[in-house]
Subunit: 312 residues, 2 copies
């Protein structure tokens, strides 16, 4: 485990719960000392953590990924699987293709976490019921993909097969956009003076919650994602229409109904179980249709995957 | 108590906890039956609830306030205090001036509640630590104002003195804007297809929480509030700048820092206790400066109010 912040630290804890042997590394000495004091084996270099490992997990901010890849490349075992936990998958995939093109890489993005950060926020139960995007490109080794999906299932998460491009487009709408709207609300909501600071309550508090996140992390989840432009355009258009209606003395009811229906419809989705072969094309389609994996079965006939998909 | 939805029902429960005698009325028979079955005295008409009452509380949606005032007007005792719990105060004040101009009216807005609604969501602890705007206009009877403030303190809330216009301007930013952004997020966040529905998690979930609110209620909290236009303009401008930066290959860091600083600064505000006379001008200034009332003291020398205000 390279990087022991909230996500990496939570993974370190969660993976040890499964009985696997796991070793951590973090270049920040205080973070490393924290993990060590909590009883986890922590190495003094990334090389020592990587050498001989069957699975290497990158858990550092996107801006540090390429340097980390260059540093670990000479130490990666031939058959080792490499994965990561970053929000955007295209830039990581590009870096892997440049730096360690022969690695058995599966890009990963557990949609877990809070607005907190750091080893002290690590929680082994963080991944329970969390969607976990796993990239499945034409060059992806399907056995490596299944191995990472199996680990995610063991941690209680819901692996979602997707290409890096599809996952980044989805993330623009469900992570980038919510964060930018929360930042805009946090700043504009309080710009009206002290009386507003007193009256800010429920809707302001939850609406701006993720503005508590470290700003540099929010930037790495948004910057350079082309799909975020379209998502922002759509949200701005909705707000501009609302603004024009307000000026014309018309109601906000239409916008409120659109939002309400989308949110309630999302909550009320229904799913049904499916069984899938370890076939990249079928898995990609399963993810694109809104499905995820619940378990990996291995027997004499090979590997099968159980999953859930939208009922309609 | 006229209206026994989430706010009115919560008030009915909370006020009885203080030992005061309270009677409820709701035109919806199922709601009235629910309150009656829970052991509360419920009248068959608003007239019966209002007649002889020292305090009458309106707790219906804004669209029903004027009709309610016309219906109760003939039954209001001469010295009775009239208050309400609606989000916008200017339209209620206007209706009171038209329909019951002689009433001892204090507009009220407890910033309590969730995205739920109805008697079944009523909770006597809903008002604990909740800001509660109380309008203080030139014509407001200061004794009536203090009486309502005292009741709000007894329920654990924090009465905030404000003119109706000032409170509506503040509410545009801390209620109207968060709701419109949540509606826009709820709708636009999920418009990218089934994969996005699977990956929507923490930031989407809290960011769109208040889109679960009944759309007609959201509309009554926004429609006709002129200050909401400026608040929307400011948020749209922030998002448009972010969009332009994204297209130019620049970072979202500046927006994220502005939002983070506003939110964290708000959380870290510090306050100091103050003592105030029951003077309308001083109370209005106290509210405008970010202060609220914590207790009403009555002794031989008259009435004094204790409060908190920003330390700086």
């Amino acid at each position: 485990m390279l990087g022991l912040g909230m996500i990496g630290g939570s993974l370190l804890r969660a993976i040890r719960h499964t009985g696997l042997e796991v070793v951590g590394f973090d270049p920040d000495l205080a973070t490393a000392a924290g993990a060590s004091a909590a009883g986890f084996p922590v190495t003094a270099s990334d090389a020592r953590a990587v050498r001989g490992a069957d699975l290497v997990i990158l858990a550092m901010p996107l801006t540090e990924v390429e340097a980390a890849l260059r540093s670990l490349a000479p130490h990666l075992s031939a058959g080792a699987v490499l994965t990561d936990v970053g929000t955007l998958k295209t830039p990581v995939l590009d870096a892997v293709r440049r730096v360690v093109p022969m690695a058995r890489f599966v890009g990963g993005h557990p949609l877990a976490g809070t607005e907190e950060s750091g080893w002290s926020a690590a929680d082994p139960l963080l991944f329970r019921d969390a969607p976990w995007a796993l990239t499945l490109e034409p060059e992806t080794d399907i056995d490596a993909w299944v191995a990472v999906a199996e680990l995610a299932c063991d941690l209680g998460a819901k692996p979602v097969p997707a290409t890096a491009a599809d996952q980044d487009a989805a993330v623009a709408r469900v992570i980038g956009l919510p964060h930018l709207l929360a930042e805009a609300l946090a700043a504009s909501g309080l710009a009206g003076g002290p009386l507003g600071l007193s009256l800010a309550a429920g809707s302001y508090t939850t609406g701006s919650r993720v503005a508590r996140t470290r700003p540099d992390l929010v930037a790495t989840w948004c910057d350079g994602n082309p799909a975020l432009v379209g998502a922002l355009d759509e949200a701005i258009e909705r707000l501009a229409v609302a603004r024009a209606r307000l000026v014309a003395g018309e109601s906000m009811l239409e916008l409120a109904e659109a939002g309400h229906d989308a949110r309630i419809g999302w909550e009320n989705r229904r799913f049904r179980p499916v069984e899938l072969p370890a076939d990249p094309g079928m898995l990609r389609l399963h993810g694109r249709d809104g499905g995820w994996i619940t378990a990996v079965l291995r027997d004499d006939e090979g590997v099968r995957l159980l999953g859930m998909r939208p009922a309609e």
